[in-house]
């Protein structure tokens, strides 16, 4: 890394990924190994870890101390919250959402996976696919994380046997594909010994695939935007009202999906007003076309009433607006979510009043079974909800757009973030889905 030029460094792309694993799967060791072997741990950080480890009477440096940053975490030896880590190679920059494998795993993994392009799911090779693995796979499918890596860890403890790895990889891949996970890459590793994490393993010459880091460096982070519905949530109206720009009126926002170009016919939702894009400013520079996730300012040909919370979409591809939203949610707050709960719903840049009309079912992630009409969802529960909003919202299905198909529920009294929501079908099942009109049924 130290020999790369600054020019090469600034041309790299960014990959956001998350890790999932239970307490003894070796997740901290994997993260520590990735950071350490990619030379992202600097001398003073390592010295601090060595000092702290020695003062606890530990023999070697405990790499978990690199990631457990809070007093309570160090005191209890646990991780209590998602932490974000940063490292880089010559090819790419990485943002790692390091999610703890403890009791609150569901909301933490949902938090980490919501912005991730890739999830690494760890398995202990000695134990194979266990309940926790299925839970992680289900969450990756639910959050529609585009790439899943299955890291079969502790291969050193099963004599680096190909047959052990092959059986686990096959079982997991079949299960994940059934859930609709689009892509699984299985890698046999030993995080402790360093096999196939950063350096290829000399102990598993039967494995011809990439190391974890190689895969992270090369997995595509772009999408085919020609199939995406273009969406621009308006964040802020820019009106300088200066002598130089007396009539400038620009709609600023980050493109949530697809692309927009100058001259395109657009519609503003929920009002339904139509116009054409007169110009696009990319942070001060005029451009002909802009795409997700660029922050832009769009100017329209007609003077129409647009404000924060509106959504600009291509006229030929406008989503329906609705006041009745059905979604799969993960409840992230300690207080339960109940039928009749009055909440605020933030979707894109719009926050509206809403009421929880029904909670048709709760999902058990372990076996994907359904508990009908649970009455409430408590922390870490995943469930199906029906929500009525005070104003119509232009929502997409989460399957079509992770940005405009997602929302959060907020407690209007104290502002607590209650629930993470994904509109539409729960899992990207390859099977045809049943009619969602059935009140008491899950539609996957």
């Amino acid at each position: 890394m130290s020999t790369t030029t600054s020019e090469a460094l600034s041309e790299t792309t960014l990959l956001r990924f998350a890790t999932a694993g239970s307490v003894d799967d070796g997740k901290s060791t994997l993260v520590g190994r990735l950071l350490h072997d990619s030379k992202s741990v600097l001398t003073d950080q390592l010295e601090a870890v060595e000092r702290a480890s020695a003062s606890r009477g530990q023999e070697g440096p405990d790499l978990a101390l690199l990631t457990d940053g809070l007093r309570a975490e160090r005191e209890q030896g646990i991780t209590i919250d998602v932490a974000y880590r940063y490292f880089a190679t010559a090819k790419r920059r990485f943002i790692l959402a390091d999610t703890p494998g403890h009791v609150q795993y569901t909301r933490n993994m949902v938090t980490g996976a919501s912005t991730a392009e890739l999830t690494v799911i760890l398995i202990d090779a000695r134990n194979g696919v266990v309940e926790q693995t299925r839970r992680h796979a289900a969450l990756a499918a639910l959050l529609r994380v585009p790439h899943v890596v299955l890291a079969v860890n502790k291969m050193d403890l099963v004599d680096y046997k190909e047959s052990v790895f092959a059986a686990i990889a096959e079982e997991f891949t079949a299960y994940a594909l059934e859930l609709g996970v689009p892509e699984v890459t299985a890698i046999p590793i030993s995080a402790l010994a360093g096999d196939n994490v950063v350096e290829p393993s000399a102990n598993m010459d039967w494995y011809g695939g990439p190391t974890v880091l190689e895969h992270l460096e090369t997995v595509p982070v772009t999408h085919d935007l020609s199939h995406c519905h273009a969406r621009l949530p308006v964040q802020f109206v820019i009106r300088p009202q200066t002598a130089e720009h007396p009539d400038y009126r620009g709609y600023a926002g980050q493109i949530a999906a697809g692309s927009f170009r100058v001259g395109e016919a657009v519609t503003v939702l929920p009002s339904g007003h139509a116009s054409k894009i007169a110009a696009i400013d990319l942070l001060g520079e005029p451009v002909d076309i802009a795409w997700t996730t660029q922050s832009v300012t769009v100017l329209l040909e007609d003077d129409i009433d647009i404000s924060r919370g509106d959504l600009i979409v291509p006229s030929k591809d406008a989503p329906p607006t609705t006041q009745d939203i059905e979604a799969t949610v993960c409840h992230v707050a300690d207080a339960p979510l109940t039928v009749g709960h009055r909440v605020l719903l933030k979707h894109g840049t719009r926050t509206v009043k809403a009421i929880v009309k029904d909670i048709p079912s709760r999902l058990t992630l372990d076996d994907l079974s359904l508990h009908p009409h649970p009455g409430q969802l408590v922390a870490n529960d995943i469930g199906r909800v029906k929500i009525r909003t005070a104003e119509p919202l232009p929502v997409d299905s989460y399957a079509d757009s992770r940005r405009t198909g997602s929302f959060i529920l907020i407690d209007p009294n104290d502002g607590t973030t209650l629930t993470a929501g994904m509109v539409g079908e729960s899992f990207a099942s390859p099977e045809p889905v049943k009619d969602a009109a059935e009140d008491d049924g899950w539609d996957f």
Partner: protein
Amino acid sequence: MTTTVAAVTEGTQAPYALSHLDSLESEAVHIFREVAGEFERPVILFSGGKDSIVMLHLALKAFAPAAVPFTLLHVDTGHNFPEVLEYRDRTVAEHGLRLHVASVQDYIDRGVLKERPDGTRNPLQTLPLTEKIQAEKFDAVFGGGRRDEEKARAKERVFSLRDEFSQWDPRRQRPELWNLYNGRHAPGEHVRVFPLSNWTELDVWQYIAREGIELPEIYFAHEREVFQRAGMWLTAGEWGGPKESETVEKRLVRYRTVGDMSCTGAVDSDAVTLEQVITEIAASRLTERGATRADDKMSEAAMEDRKREGYF
């Protein structure tokens, strides 16, 4: 549409891929605009250090061609580098901004705060900062903090709720999902906002180079009278250094961070251009804070403890 796209993206590795700097810039701009859209009285903490300079640059781009809809706040420890104060005032004037100053020296003069025996004023910033936030009723306070700086900061949200005493409670943080930032707060509470959360020190420098952003001179190698304390080169000055046992020498140094003179160390360096600084940082085996901040070495949880009290 496809033909236009092909033409625009020709030559880049993958169509529609943003470079990591473009991704980080776009995300930071989104954060600034969310705050502008949802808060009544936001303010940007501006010290004249590189992170706050990048923050201001991003804010200028986010609202162009309109003015930045935020005021600035400097917590003045009274131990500033003169070049940095000069830069601060020039920048404020150039962009027609309004600057609030919270002065540690005032608090010491009034007897509200007491000078520490070690002369370090960094921990003394918290009270003037939090009282200013309350007095001016700021409801969103932008800070240039980055999660790569320190492990307590790695746990920090982009939107971080503070109670009426400005306290941070890591156990009561709101989960942050997708890019749906939750800025709800009760009267008296405020939200600390970190648009550079996902940037690293190297990203900041690469961005400064790409955008051609001017910095205070002390970030580049220059000859300076310094003395050694706790393994760091500190600038001799009226703030109380050097002590009798410490000897002053002239060295070629530069600063990786800018803060209170009493606890911000210089590093030996001959990097006089941005390119040389970037090369130096890419090769460095020390973190920014590990190399230059005395206050973080006080204890394993020094940063967390100060953050809990209201520090950034």
